[in-house]
Structure formats: C-alpha cells, structure tokens
C-alpha cells in the first residue's frame, strides 16, 4: 500500500487518492497549429520509465486538490510531493513550492511503501 504525502493534508493512504498519470504535460500553447504527430504525442505518448517517475495524484477523499508526486515505479518508494506544477519538467520553477514534502528540499523521505 502506498503512503502518499499530500502537500496539504500530510501522509495519507493510497486509497484516498486517484492516479493522474505523468506530471508536467502542458496543454499545447497553440493547439490550432499542431499537426497530427504533435497531437498524437500530446494525447497518447507518455514516459513509462522503470525508475523515478514524476506523476500526478488527486486527493479525492481529502482536500480534493492535485499534487505532483515523485515515485519509483520499481520499488514504489515515494520521494515526496509538490504543489501542482511548481517544478515543471525542463523549465524554470513557476513559484515557491509550499509543500513540506517538496522533492527539491533536502529532507528525508516521508513517503512510504507498502
């Protein structure tokens, strides 16, 4: 069972959450300019690493907010969680991440595995 640290509610049981797939997928800036291949990439292609994965979780039975979680897909260790979009992949941070479980802070892992 995963123990997922919600930035707002603290560590909670996986059952309270819904998985939202890969994090940091931005909606196309100019959708009408997108060709078929770019649409296919946006809609269907996702990272599928065996290892660290940045992913979205929705705390549906708690604060009903999304967060960005970093988790290992092989041993299921949760490294931490951040407020949504605070650390977009490949881009500059969009603002302060207020999560006490922020993966960029040098804090020990609070997330658990089963």
């Amino acid at each position: 069972m995963l123990l997922i640290p919600c930035p707002w509610c603290g560590p909670r049981d996986e059952r309270e959450f819904r998985y939202g797939g890969q994090a940091h997928i931005a909606y196309p800036a100019d959708p009408s300019a997108l060709g078929d291949e770019a649409w296919a990439d946006y809609l269907f292609m996702r990272d599928n690493p065996a290892g660290r994965h940045a992913e979205r979780w929705f705390h549906g039975s708690g604060c009903r907010a999304w967060c960005d979680v970093e988790r290992d897909t092989v041993d299921y260790t949760v490294t931490g969680s951040c407020t949504t979009g605070a650390h977009p992949a490949g881009g500059p941070d969009t603002g302060p991440c207020t999560s006490p479980y922020c993966v960029r802070r040098a804090v020990p892992s609070t997330g658990g595995t089963r």
Partner: protein
C-alpha cells in the same frame, strides 16, 4: 526475409528436458525478445510455417516466468470491433487445434465465458456486443438472469445485491487452457524445430546502422540479426527507450489470487467488468480470481492490497459461498496498457524492428493468434492483414480500436 535452414539440426535436449539450453550464437536470422507465450509462439510459427528456424528467443529471466505465469488463463474472442474480432477469433480458432498441432495436452477446456451485466447501461452495451459478435461469425448469446442462474448456481442473482445480475453475454466456445503447458508446448516444439531458447540473457539495447536495427546488445554479448521482434509486454518501453522511440504504453501491475483446492462449484468462467473480478475453477479445484489493474505505473510485479480487498469483496458479494474460501496466494504481473485497450503490432520506424505490445490485461488469449500473425509479419516484412489495424500509426491517424468496453480491466 529468405528462409534459411539451420546449419545443422540441433542435438536433442538432454534426457528429461523439454528443450536445450544453448549458448547464444553471434548471429541469427530473427531474434525474438521475450520468452512469454507471445515470443514462444512467434518463434514456433516462424520455424513451423515459414521455414525460418535460425531464430533465438532471448529471455532476461526464465522461460515463461513473467505474465505467462501470472495470468488467469482465460480465452475468449467476443470483442466489439471488426479488427479485434479478426485477431482474437483467429487466435481462438488456432486454440481449438493447438493440442493437435503441438502434440500435447494443454488442458484446453471450452467451458464458456459469461460477462455479467449489472446496470441498464451494461445491458445495452452487452447486447450490442453480442450482435456485433454474431455479425462477425463469433458465437455469442445474451442470457437473462434466469439462464445465468442455471449456468452458475452459486452466483447470487437476487435483486437485493449491490450489483444485481441483469443478464450476461455468453460465449460457449470460450474457456481456459493451462498457461504453463501452453508455454512448454510452444517451447518444446520450437526447440525441436531448431529455435534456440536462451534464458538469463537480458537485452540492454540495440545494434543500429542508421535507421536500421541490426541486432541487440545483451548481458551475454552482442547478437546480430536480420530482424528483431519485441514480445516484452510490460518492459517494451524500457527497450524502445534506448532507441529514443516513444510508445503509447503505460506499464501497470495486474493482480490475481488463488484459493486452496475446493470441491467443484464452478464449471464455466464468469467475468464482471463493473466490479473488477473474474473467476474460474482450475481442474485441480483451486479458484482463480483476477482483479483490475492497479491505477499507477509499476514494474514491481506487485500491487496494492486495496486492489485485492476490492476484488475479494466483489467476489464474496457475487458468490456468497466464496466466503468459506481462503486466499492462498496473490501475485502480480506487469501489463502494458495502450490508450484504446488494443494491442500494437507490426513494423516500426526502424527497419528490421517489429513490435508486439500493448496487450494490456488480455494478451494470454491471443497467444497462438498473435504468434501466427507476428511470424507472418516478420517473415514477409509487412503487416499481416489481421495486424494492419493495430499499427503504431493509428495513434497519429486517429483510427483507434476502442475496446475499453469489451476489455476494460477484465480482459
């Protein structure tokens, strides 16, 4: 791909063994990556039907130790769309002759499969699927609750349940076959025809010249090949990542459980998409129950207890007698799920590289069918007609084959 005979017929396997365990040679006509059912069947049909026996099947672990050892052994072909009906019914037809073709007992049992409907919407979708199946020549019937109760007396068909049984689709020709015997049957016959089955040999990358794949890098050295066919299921993305090739796949844990041996109580297969449980009773007597996938990506070959809890809760509600049973063992495989719940089969942008993946929760039933179709695709360097609708390009053209209704979690 020219059909080249093996240089010399291989020596038979040592006494008591079903296949040899040869060292990999430096080059083959065809390399198949992954010795699950799909990989073994592909190698078998390459040798048996196309005269291409200079083939090695490379396996990172042990033979048929991945999803082929972890599925719930269910076989059926009652999918909605014509493309799916084509390939799944092709597979079922091959299943019906497979014990003869491989010359061994596979415990293939056409005991029928019911897919329960629990809501008005389920009923409409199910009846539509029955009609679509019939138009494609697939045996399918719609059963009312009374008929379901006759076939499955232990099922609670009362109106008071949380998920009332409003009817079911029924495919009499569907059933189960012993997955280990199927794997060993394909392996032994492929070996006999000259195919090298190489276990403990993990593919770590590809040999390339420009846009062509010329072989693979492995933990036991480089191996050259005229063609490489990936049958790696949940680990396909890990392989194609080394080529910078993105696939529309997500690898998820898929769990199942088994009870101790019980008296016979169920002589058919019953599935329910709505409550995420599907069950059959194996010949020895254990109940085999499959669950839905765990929602998150995971390569750990284990999932969360919550999924099993939900599965057991649904099973006990539907079959009150199961409250007497115990869960002996639970386990998980890693399944590669595509956005439209249909497989991806065929050539890739890399010449010489073929993929067979995206079968998600339902690859086992297709084993002989996809092996047959993929072998033909590799042997002729073009998609087999039954594979054409399942090419990678469908995610660009938008011609998806949406089988979420027929597949759902309970493939």
């Amino acid at each position: 791909m020219p059909a080249l005979p093996a240089a010399e017929p291989p020596a038979p396997p040592p006494h008591g063994r079903l296949w040899r365990s040869p060292e990999p040679r430096p080059a083959y006509d065809v390399l198949v990556v992954g010795s699950g059912g799909h990989g073994l069947a592909t190698a078998y049909y390459l040798a048996a039907e196309h005269g291409i026996a200079d083939v090695a099947v490379l396996e990172r672990g042990w033979l048929a130790g991945g999803n082929m050892a972890r599925n719930t052994a269910i076989i059926r072909s009652n999918y909605l769309w014509d493309a799916s009906a084509g390939i799944y019914e092709h597979a079922l037809t091959l299943w019906e002759g497979l014990e003869d073709a491989l010359g061994r007992d596979l415990h293939f049992s056409q005991r029928g499969v019911l897919n329960l409907a629990h809501s008005t919407h389920d009923v409409r979708e199910s009846v539509r699927r029955v009609n679509a199946n019939r138009l494609n020549g697939i045996d399918a019937e719609w059963l009312g609750p009374d008929e379901v109760a006759k076939l499955v007396p232990i099922l609670d068909t009362g109106a008071h349940t949380r998920h009332p049984v409003l009817g079911a689709t029924y495919q009499p020709r569907a059933g189960i076959a012993d997955h280990d015997l199927v794997a060993w049957g394909f392996a032994a016959e492929a070996d006999r025809l000259g195919v090298d089955l190489v276990q403990g040999c993990e593919v770590t990358g590809f040999l390339r010249s420009g846009g062509k794949v010329r072989g693979v890098r492995t933990t036991r050295g480089d191996i050259a090949a005229g063609a490489v066919a990936l049958c790696a299921a949940g680990r396909t993305s890990v392989l194609t990542e080394t080529l910078g090739m993105r696939l529309p796949l997500q690898s998820h844990p898929l769990q199942a459980l088994v009870t101790p041996l019980l008296e016979p109580v169920l002589d058919t297969v019953v599935m329910s998409n709505a409550v995420h449980v599907y069950v059959s009773q194996a010949p020895k007597g254990e109940l085999v129950l499959g669950a839905g996938i765990d929602g998150y990506n995971g390569y750990g070959q284990r999932g969360s207890p919550r999924t099993v809890e939900d599965q057991i809760a649904a099973a006990v509600e539907l079959y009150p007698v199961f409250a007497h049973a115990e869960a002996l063992r639970t386990w998980a495989g890693t399944v590669d799920v595509a956005p439209d719940a249909s497989p991806v089969i065929g050539p890739t942008p890399f010449e010489g590289l073929y993929i067979n993946c995206g079968w998600g929760t339902g690859g086992y039933k297709a084993t002989p069918g996809v092996g047959h179709v993929l072998a033909d695709t590799v042997a002729n360097g073009r998609p087999h007609p039954l594979a054409e609708p399942f090419g990678l390009e469908r995610f660009t053209t938008g011609a998806l084959v949406d089988e979420h209704g027929a597949a759902a979690v309970a493939h």
